[in-house]
Amino acid sequence: MTPLALAAVGECVNEKAGVVNIGLEGIFMITSVTGVWTAEVFGNGAMGLLGGALAGAVLGFALGVISVYGRADQIIAGMGLNIFALGFVPFLLISLWAFPGIHIFPNELMVPRWITPFGQVSPVTVFAVLVAFLAHLLLHRTVLGFRIRAVGERPEAVDVAGLRVDHLRLLTSTLGGALAGIGGAFLPLGWFGAVVKEISAGRGFIALACVVFAGLEPLLALGAAMLFGFADGFASAVAVTPGVKERIPFYFVSMIPYVTTLVVVALVIGQRRFPRTIGRPYARE
């Protein structure tokens, strides 16, 4: 749930500003590697999250520049990033650790969890919830948030008001990339204890589905991330439950997150409204 929530909330703000980032999957993949690498260099899991955030910010910024100044087709550029990651991540894995396809890092680099009376919780999960509320306040209670929403609806009005359309959009795409980067680094450092080249397994696209489900509202995106995260966790739980695991083939259990996503998106879509200029570059008349 945590990586989904972080990426989805960031993308909500980004799409409010009129920029679409289909490359979340690629950002997840690349930052899972850079996250583990920084964690190993500094000998600290939290530094790994920071390393993921930085790499994510760089990727988000790059996509932002391509979208804003390059006036690119944002869906194709984002897919390009995903395809790049598909080849770059195995290349990185073998170049950094000289082992194909997988890298297992020392256990003490895992991000420690807080022990509460209700069970263990990762500080990153708490952070993700906090970020969702902050993003909500940012969008609906601050001047900057008002400008972000305006730049997605009427960029020409923002321009005439003397504000920089390009800077606002670069800001949101960098922020979205950084949040996705924390999520990407969290995948190995908070969950799996290893990086594999298929680590993200479509979660970047499930995060996009959260954004669609939420109609770009960060708090709803948080809810969607919980729902889809639950489907993910449910699948993992079912896969090891005695009595069930013998009867239902593992392959069908593995489908649960994807089927859930498809069904839920099919049910809620149509009631959602998106910014007027979403996915379109802005040019002065």
């Binding site: 194709i76 550029a77 390009g80 395809i83 080849g87 170049s95 479509g202 696209f205 489908m255």
Partner: protein, 347 residues
């Protein structure tokens, strides 16, 4: 202004992007301490060094021109069908079933196995198509979800229903009557290449020569004009997904009954995996044109086949070729690059 160009502009643009992709790849290799010169030398020799290598390059190009067609037909209709991957898995399953489990006379068997793969691919494409028509679900999300569901479903079917009792790692091999003839002894190229090229050409004629094809392209180029002209938007969506699914299914079939030595599907889907995604880059370099896709597929086939020698001789992982593919796609997405080039030439 157009008349001053000696080469057609799309060709120049595609060549420039490939150059940018290779340069970026060289920088990546240099950054990690590999020798780009040695790598690209090995890549080139690996792809074109001997006549057998050229044929092998063409064998690598065969599925790519088809998965590229899936994406191109989508783009022509204004859709981002990135579901070739999953449609191809199901196509491979459909072909494996008819080729390995059913006995038919020679000739008919090849045709039946091929058709079965294409139909399975088209059937799988119906999921995102219908979700789009009925509920307006964006095809980027639905095709990716369908890809992952297809991955698990196909693995399950391959292991539980089509498994080879003598080898755990793959499905039953295609019966000899269902195999496309191998063209030469020293390459894995089979006659399926002719089917692939014929299919691309047929879709080209269909899109540019028939009313339905024209409506499909109009729906993608100018949805408003298409609506005023009375084009049924839902029909365009369904048609584009069906053609795409048939092409992806054929791509899957080509790797089962048109590619020695396995003649079967690996339980990991390893002999088809990622061919669908690679098709996106091929389609864009081929300017989303069925015939352009054939040319671009040869280029990416060369990268794929040459990449193996590059890995062997220069130690650069062949998957880096896919990273180049991604950089090429990003570059092609940026119209300002071409605007800059044009401005420079005018000056």
């Amino acid at each position: 202004m157009k008349a001053r160009w000696h080469l057609p502009r799309p060709l120049i643009e595609s060549l420039v992007t490939i150059f940018i992709g290779l340069t970026a790849g060289a920088l990546l290799m240099g950054a990690f301490g590999y020798s780009p010169l040695r790598a690209y030398q090995a890549l080139f020799i690996g792809a074109f060094g001997t006549p057998a290598d050229v044929l092998e390059t063409i064998a690598f190009a065969t599925p790519l021109m088809l998965t590229a067609l899936t994406f191109s037909v989508g783009i022509r209709a204004g859709l981002f069908n990135i579901g070739a991957e999953g449609q191809m898995y199901l196509g491979a399953i459909g072909t494996t079933f008819v080729a390995g489990m059913v006995s038919l006379p020679p000739g008919i068997h090849i045709a039946a196995a091929t058709a079965s793969g294409m139909l399975f691919g088209a059937a799988w494409a119906m999921i995102p198509a219908l979700l789009k028509v009925w509920r307006g679900v964006h095809e980027v999300i639905s095709t990716i979800m369908a890809n992952w569901i297809a991955f698990h479903l196909s693995t399950y079917l391959a292991i539980n229903f089509l498994g080879d009792p003598t080898r755990a790692d793959r499905t039953v091999p295609a019966l000899p009557t269902a195999r496309y003839p191998v063209l030469t002894e020293d390459a894995t190229l089979t006659a399926v290449i002719f089917v692939a090229i014929a299919f691309c050409a047929a879709i080209y004629l269909y899109l540019w020569g028939t009313r339905a094809g024209y409506e499909l392209r109009l729906g993608g180029e100018n949805p408003d004009a298409a609506r005023y002209a009375g084009v049924n938007a839902n029909r365009v969506i369904l048609l584009s997904f069906v053609i795409g699914g048939l092409a992806a299914g054929l791509a899957g079939a080509s790797q089962i009954i048109g590619r020695p030595p396995a003649w079967s599907l690996y339980a990991t889907l390893g002999n088809v995996a990622t061919l669908g995604f690679d098709g996106i880059g091929v389609a864009l370099v081929g300017r989303n044109h069925p015939l352009g896709g054939i040319l671009a597929a040869f280029l990416f086939g060369a990268l794929a086949h040459g990449g193996r020698l590059m890995e062997y001789q220069a130690g650069v992982l062949s998957e880096l070729v896919r990273a180049l593919n991604g950089i090429i796609v990003v570059t092609l997405a940026v119209p300002e690059v071409w605007a800059m080039l044009r401005r420079r030439r005018i000056r």
